[in-house]
């Protein structure tokens, strides 16, 4: 129910945008964020709820670095 999926913003028209989900282009409402074309956004129930950092590999590196830091704290 609370699943949100990342899509890439293709175009923006007022509060609506077209986003690409692995080839499926879907209309999403962007009233909760201010995305730019090319941004990755997390979409839930037709609504973009957050802009995401797009580099997944980097994200996991950061994640494990963070764990190291928490261990040292």
């Amino acid at each position: 129910m609370c699943v949100a999926l990342p899509g890439k913003i293709l175009s923006i028209d007022g509060q609506m945008a077209k986003a690409d989900f692995s080839g499926n282009v879907v209309n999403v409402n962007t009233g909760l964020i201010e995305p730019k074309v090319g941004d990755y956004v997390l979409v839930h129930a037709g609504c973009a709820i957050e802009i995401m950092a797009e580099d997944k590999a980097q994200e996991l590196i950061d994640l494990f670095n963070e764990i190291d830091e928490l261990e040292r704290a």
């Binding site: 609370c2 949100a4 709820i49 950092a53 950061d62 494990f64």
Partner: protein
């Protein structure tokens, strides 16, 4: 730190038994999909929490939706998950067979388009969900109000997670730490969890849905428990800001006020429901006071499942009298319900 080291650590863990609750059904599904239980020590128990808004929806709510679906010149819009939840006179799916007007929606914004196109029909929208979902309903109602539409009603069973977490800490105190719901936290931010960390001394860690995220969150929780700490940590930084989505929080505050809500299996929890307020109250479809609930069917242990007292496969009905094809209790009904997820991943 490497993922290998984390897995080795969690596999070798041999301290006192640790019980961690994943609050969100999407985490439960990801834990199964990635076979996480087989990667960690049996001394670390992962418990599925109340994180399926459909499963906790009471009978009175289904009955209210059914009333709209059966009324003249009225149509009910709902997500597919709600169709099979039992009400007093059967599920919405059963009633549809008897002529009830129930239409599946993919996004609440469809209601605005429909209401504008068909001014003679009232569209009742079954708004079920947690903080992840509530802002899209708020935006939709705000849009309906801007367009001056009068033929939309929101039947809200929108709920907030914090009151349920407090309820669990009060009633099931042996949970040692929480995997906080990732997409709820996108909206709410992380600060709210400090209340549980400080008052109940439970570590609260926010994480995403990849295998690495889940192993990292378990590791962080276990390490905090071993050190006797109870901190709030955000391990989902590419989606969750500490302060959350402030714009979404603002529109939630503008459209909704909190009040008592009924959770199937738990009972009524004060301040855990969201109800339309102020200029938006006229769109309320009679959501308040829906506290009546059918007793859980005889033998169904959903009440114990959603607070983590037992795992679904410890229920005597599981996989026998109760399957997703023929659900007996609410936790088997929805794709995100703990029993349904466990069943499909047996």
């Amino acid at each position: 730190m490497e993922i290998r080291e984390i897995i080795d650590y969690l596999k070798a863990y041999d301290g006192p038994q640790i019980k961690l609750m994943e609050v969100c059904g999407t985490h439960t599904a990801a834990i199964f999909k990635n076979g996480i239980r087989s990667l960690i020590s049996p001394k670390i128990k992962l418990i599925s929490g109340p994180g399926c808004p459909v499963c906790v929806t009471p009978t009175a709510y289904i009955d209210k939706c059914a009333e709209y679906a059966m009324a003249e010149n009225t149509e009910l819009l709902t997500y597919g998950d709600m169709m099979k939840v039992p009400g007093t006179h059967g599920s919405l799916s059963d009633l549809k067979g008897d002529g009830a007007k129930v239409t599946l929606m993919y996004s609440p914004f469809e209601a605005v388009e429909k209401a504008e196109a068909h001014p003679d029909i009232t569209y009742a929208v079954a708004a079920v969900g947690f903080e992840t979902t509530a802002p899209s309903y708020a935006l939709m109602i705000d849009e309906a109000s801007k367009r001056g539409l009068t033929n939309i009603r929101l039947v809200t069973a929108l709920k907030t997670v914090m009151p349920a977490l407090k309820w669990i800490c009060d009633n099931q105190p042996d949970i040692d730490g929480f995997i906080c719901p990732g997409h709820v936290s996108v909206i709410t931010g992380c600060e709210q969890y400090r209340y549980i960390a400080d008052n109940y001394h439970k570590p609260m860690v926010v994480c995403g849905f990849e295998a690495e995220h889940i192993l990292a969150v378990i590791y962080e929780l276990v390490r905090q428990i071993e050190r006797g700490e109870a901190k709030v940590v955000n391990l989902y930084k590419n989606a969750v800001r500490w302060e959350g989505n402030v714009k979404a929080q603002d529109i939630l505050r503008k459209c909704f006020e909190s009040g008592e809500a009924m959770w199937r299996g738990l009972g009524a929890i004060p301040d855990s429901g969201l109800y339309l307020t102020g200029e938006y109250a006229k769109y309320d479809g009679g959501s308040k006071g829906l506290v009546k609930d059918m007793k859980l069917p005889e033998g169904c242990s959903c009440g114990s499942v959603i607070i983590g007292k037992i795992n679904p496969d410890e229920c005597p009905m599981f996989g026998k009298a109760c399957t997703p094809m023929d659900p007996y209790g609410p936790c088997m009904v929805s794709a995100e319900g703990a029993c349904g997820i466990w069943y499909r991943n047996r």
